[in-house]
């Protein structure tokens, strides 16, 4: 088995994890740079997949399964957008060319992204695998992913004997995530687009590894693990919800100004505010995972909300931790309930105020009488 992109955190984890599986004899990990993490018993070959030398690696190690994980949005250890694009597109072309020449290759797994759907206000609310994007991504990583998938489809046509599986992952998050979205969510104050509250979906790193393992092996139910699948956790979170659960304040920025803020942040090297990232944070994106469940037979262990909770836990408290806010509301409730119940004083002894801080005030109703609601809108 050959794994590309092994120097990345996710690739490294996958290489270490897959060695334990009985179906795997040997793992060849490939990347252009030396990995900073251990790869266990895997053979590391330092090769640039943009060069034809990759074909030699395939032949030398008699590779039968190729897991292509080197389709990413950010460069590893410096390097601009051009080199990322080259690795994504030229690298995929070279790798596919090498696979086509190698008769032993029988299985190809490609890590793609739901970025291929783009995000536009004119798109349906939920994308299925067959939905054609209304506005194709015009550049950046999303366009790379679209092109990569195009080459992979071409390869699948030329080599019908190879089982090809494309996994479109939603935003990958987890304690160790290093994606642009994770970087964005780690900012102390989150700039958001004014007047938009995008719907987001996350998939946990552990689930990514699990589903990659599932499709990298021969299917237990013959032939069902090839094709294109959306991979995402259940449920949806709004960006405003994410910010509140993280305890990070948001700063709404008017849409025309977002680009400037984005480039300013990029200039100081805080985070990569690519245009497609901004579009995602404007219109959001939700994909259907019916195919993943019913055809692939994979059920993620983490829902979107659980994935996010795990991520939030790893990032530590923000400026406005939810517990503090909840405590403030409880204190306000106590403060208000004291003068509100004088007529009941004789009937029962009053419980001291702090007792209620642990439990939320009960019940809910339409209550115009109570303080500001505008935070929810």
């Amino acid at each position: 088995m050959l794994v590309t992109g092994a120097a990345r955190q996710l690739g490294g984890r996958f290489v270490r994890r897959i060695q334990g599986d009985p179906e795997v004899d040997r793992v060849v990990a490939v990347d252009a740079v030396e990995p900073a993490h251990p790869l266990g018993d895997a053979v590391f070959v330092r090769a640039d997949i943009r060069r034809p030398a990759i074909a030699k690696v395939l032949a030398e190690h008699e590779v039968d399964t190729v897991v292509h994980m080197d389709v990413t949005g950010t460069a590893l250890g410096g390097g601009g957008r051009t080199s990322v694009k080259e690795t994504n597109v030229i690298g995929t072309m070279q790798l596919l060319g090498a696979c086509q020449k190698s008769p032993r290759v029988s299985r190809l797994v490609v890590k793609s992204s739901t970025n291929v759907y783009g995000s536009a206000p004119r798109d349906p609310a939920v994308f299925t695998e067959s939905t054609a994007a209304k506005s194709l991504p015009s550049g950046g990583f999303a366009k790379d992913a679209v092109e990569v998938e195009g080459y992979v489809r071409g390869f699948a046509r030329r080599r019908p004997d190879v089982a090809v599986c494309v996994l479109r992952f939603a935003n990958i998050l987890g304690p160790r995530a290093d994606s642009p979205l994770a970087e964005y969510l780690s900012l102390p104050v989150l700039p958001t687009v004014f007047g938009y509250d995008p719907r987001l979906q996350f998939v946990h790193e552990d689930d990514v590894i699990d589903v990659l393992r599932l499709v990298a092996h021969e299917s237990r139910r013959a032939g069902l693990n090839s094709g294109t699948f959306n991979i995402a956790g259940d449920g949806v979170l709004l960006l405003s919800q994410c910010a509140r659960r993280l305890g990070r304040p948001t700063v709404p920025v008017l849409l025309p100004a977002v680009t400037w803020v984005g480039s300013a942040l990029r200039a100081v090297g805080v985070t990569d505010f690519a245009p497609e990232q901004i579009r995602l944070l404007t219109h959001g994106r939700v994909v259907s995972t019916v195919q993943m469940r019913e055809v692939l037979g994979f059920t993620p262990r983490y829902t979107t909300a659980e994935t996010f909770a795990d991520f939030a836990h790893s990032r530590g408290a923000g400026l406005l931790p939810p517990e503090v806010l909840a405590g403030a509301v409880d204190r306000l409730a106590d403060r208000l309930s004291v003068p509100a119940t004088p007529y009941e004083a004789p009937s029962a002894p009053r419980v001291p105020a702090p007792a209620r801080a642990s439990s939320a005030p009960p019940a809910s109703s339409n209550s115009p009488a109570s303080p500001p609601f505008h935070d929810g809108a």
Partner: protein
Amino acid sequence: MADAKVIPFDDDRSRARRRPSRAEGEAAAVRALPAPLRAPSRPAGPPEPEEAPEAGDGAPAARPGSGWERRLASGLAFLRRRVTGEYEVDEFGYDEELTDQVLMSLLRPVFEKYFRVEVKGVENIPAEGGALVVANHSGTLPLDGLMMQVAVHDHHPAGRHLRLLAADLVFVLPVVNELARKAGHTLACAEDAERLLRAGEIVGVMPEGFKGIGKPFGERYKLQRFGRGGFVSTALRAGVPIVPCSIVGAEEIYPMIGNARTLARLLGFPYFPLTPTFPWLGPLGMLPLPTKWTIQFGEPIETGDHPPEAAEDPMLMFNLTDQVREQIQHTLYKLLVQRRSVFF
């Protein structure tokens, strides 16, 4: 947390219906707890059952402060869930809690006091399962859709929620798109409509679109072309009934006497209305005229007896579309004859 602390109140019948087991459990708990044992001795941990609506009706007379306090407590509970982000939205971004407690409360005075909407035949919307409500569209601004949503939300015996399909312009505009998604609206496209219908939701659509809402005042209550009848094939594919709906009163809220086409093109809107008051009176001209409305839901048209491939039959589609259109137009005329005046 949060979820368990929700108790059905007067306008939250929907919650009671959607989670029947929980509602019943709470109702039982409420009965078990005598009314005088209240607020100050709150047990920590599990949700304290407050009075049910039935009890609440009688209580205020005896203890004037309790209703207010209960509202305050529940409002704070709501606020607490909001600030911590512990609430749920569905895949369309529909925030049921926010809609029930805030958005509907904001629209209700407009519905009850301003337009004094009279709702008829709401029981024609099935109590369970999907249905497609097809209505006429008018009024320059889509207030008729919102009022229809309030009508279903407040008046349907099973407390169903109407999920409106909105034009793509709604999802381009900032703020508007955010509120629309949270109120359960989604883009008017076959994929979204079918997904909602298959999930058993009530979907509201106004197939006239911009042609209906932006028509001049002189053409009021004349139905425009019903798109390409895509809504019929969607209903057929999902196998749900079509409920025609006629809205009287919305045509006169902003009598559109002119259309500044150049300005509309510059701003990217489908039309730019000129009414007797707008834009001459500035923001004051944005105030709709307080007309008296009637919303009538008609007899459902069943689509279940057609085979699934019928959705591909253009002739059948046109016939069904015409049938729906005729029925709405007919009801409109009937309601107009019955109407005493535009404003009363």
